[in-house]
């Protein structure tokens, strides 16, 4: 692709990542974090980066928010190069790091005021954008940020990341350490922000959150394993999936795993999910009966977690 092509691509995408690589450490003790990752995010998209701890999600976010220089590759955010045009990027992205990093000894209002001012704007100007989120913590606006509960801290951090009306929002593991109800609420908030036209990149270690995104990329050990819409990923799941449960789940799992027809078996809620090598499950079920293990079995519809577990197994 020529230079013109790169420029065109930058204009088309809110985030464009081309072959980005990054290693930590020096000389003998090098830890690679990213091995040449490429993907594009369309404007207004809610893009999920799913992967276990240590997959390289934070490193990628830090490169895209101009906090870290990549070793190789290029990337652009909102049409600006992350290395050369970092100043323009800093004006138009919002970043919410995984760790709460607002001033704990300033109040809720002071924190929001502070971040509004250093972006040369004011709370009033962009109140409509943060209203839904900020309204929930406004009753505590004179409380020190350090004294807020986890869920409220998260809302404040999101408000502060939004107060300058960014065009691209980076959320690094925003739901880690947040209770199930707050997590659900949080994703509702993201959907509303998406409706405002903000491009959102969110990283999470929770596979069940993948279904909330427009598109997801599965990342592991610094490599992208798969990238598609959640429904397309589920559609690609080609093998037969069974759900089994019984009175003695541990013996059952061990017995299932010992059978040759089984590609993979893992606990999944109150069932064990069993991925078969072939479409015929009678061999396995007969084998369990012969061994006198009580169980009930049913066909299972694969969801995104099943897909990711398979993808990660294959990669290893």
């Amino acid at each position: 692709m020529g230079n013109g092509g790169v420029k065109l691509k930058r204009k088309m995408y809110a985030v464009s990542v081309n072959n980005i690589a990054k290693s930590y450490g020096a000389k003998k003790n090098v830890t690679p974090a990213l091995h040449g990752i490429s993907f594009d995010v369309k404007p207004g998209e809610l893009f999920g980066l799913i992967g276990p701890d240590g997959a390289g999600k934070t490193t990628l976010f830090r490169i895209l928010t101009t906090l870290l220089l990549p070793d190789k590759g290029t990337a652009s955010v909102d049409g600006f190069d992350v290395v050369n045009a970092y100043k323009s990027i800093r004006r138009r992205v919002g970043y919410m790091p995984g760790r709460f990093s607002l001033y704990q000894d300033l109040t809720v209002k002071e924190n929001l005021d502070f971040f509004a001012t250093i972006f040369n704007t004011s709370i009033e100007k962009n109140y409509d954008l943060v209203k839904d989120i900020y309204a929930q913590i406004e009753p505590f606006s004179n409380r020190m940020a350090g004294k807020l509960s986890g869920g409220m801290k998260q809302k404040l951090a999101l408000s502060c990341a939004l107060i300058h009306r960014p065009s691209v929002l980076f959320l690094d593991e925003p739901t880690t350490g947040v209770d199930a109800v707050s997590r659900k609420e949080f994703w509702e908030m993201l959907k509303r922000l998406k409706a405002e036209g903000i491009t959102i990149l969110v990283s999470t270690p929770y596979m069940d959150e993948a279904g909330m995104c427009d598109r997801v990329a599965l990342i592991q050990s610094g490599r992208l394993l798969e990238m598609d819409t959640p429904s397309a990923i589920i559609r690609d799941f080609s093998k037969k999936l069974l759900a089994l449960k019984g009175p003695d789940m541990l013996t059952l799992l061990q017995a299932i795993r010992s059978h040759k027809d089984v590609a993979d078996a893992y606990p999944f809620g109150e069932f064990h999910h069993v991925v078969l090598e072939q479409d015929d499950e009678s061999g396995l079920l007969g084998y369990l009966q012969d061994n006198g293990i009580a169980f009930e079995a049913k066909m299972a519809v694969p969801d995104i977690e099943d897909c990711f577990i398979q993808l990660m197994k294959e990669e290893r």
């Binding site: 906090l67 607002l102 002071e110 971040f115 502060c160």
Partner: protein, 372 residues
Amino acid sequence: MRTLLFLLQKEFRQIFRDPSILRLIFIMPVIQLVMLPFAADYEIKNIQLAVTDNDHSAYSRLLVSKITASGYFKLSALPGTEKQALKVIEKDQADMVLFIPAGFEKNLVKEGEAPLMISTNAINGVKGGLGNSYLQQIIREFNQDIRAEWIQLPRFNPEVQLETTVSNWYNPHMNYKLFMVPGILVLLLTMVGANLTAINIVREKEIGTIEQINVTPVRKVHFILGKLIPFWILGILVFTLGLLIARVLYGITPVGSPLTIYVFAAVYLLAVLGLGLLISTYAHTQQQAMLISFFLMMIFILMGGLYTSIDSMPEWAKMITRFNPVTYFIEVIRMVVLKGSGLAEIRGHLVVISIFALILNAWAVLNYHKRS
């Protein structure tokens, strides 16, 4: 400009919200200034003296009473023999022993000459050395008194004799507090300046707030000025407090103009804050910052000319003191407080400390990266 004002507002809010730090900043200098000058006393008093008097004569008793009357010595033991006397030193019950041999008076009268022996515990070198010279001086005076008593001196001294009269300029009563207190004040300013800035910025690194600032369009210069200005103001306040304590408690009023001191202090603080800033760009945790600044402070304090004279250091050490900002301020504050020097006299020092301020701050700014 608006951004800078807002950064300053935020910084002051945070400082005033942490009352323990604020209290420390102001109480620490007060306590140190009240305590240290009394403890860091160069005059040696209360030297424990043991006397072994084997003569038991009128003269030996006269000598001992003259020694104890001087105020520098305390008679702590009267061991009977030389052996016992050394035991007393060993047990740390005496710092010095004076042996007066039998026949002291007889020899003095008959032969006109009598030996005495002094043994000193030299573990504390300063105390031992000073004790020796005090004691010798008293014995010399005793010697002259006896001479005057025995020999009728002629009206004009037939021998050539030199007599010296000492006059102490700038500090006529040799009041050590006059030069210790301003020096201690300099150290306090150095510690407040360098430590506070270093730890403040490293704390932002530790909590992660600096990362949040780094993704904003805030300019590096604004961020750094936002850190320097509040601590510069705090430093000047602490310094003023110190000068007031020096005046009220020790009656020290600078002979020169306080304005001269403030001009120098203002530039000096910039240099010290720059040092703190520089430390913060290298340290990743508060412990690291503390250790680095502790290491530097030890060198600055002990090689700053406060406790030991720089002139008596070896050449290589003198070279090091030239790179120690503390040295310059201690010299300047003593010049102004004791001698009344003005801006013209401290011009050289001012130039050097300005260069320090410039280099340290420039280095810190260059080394502060908004991204890694």
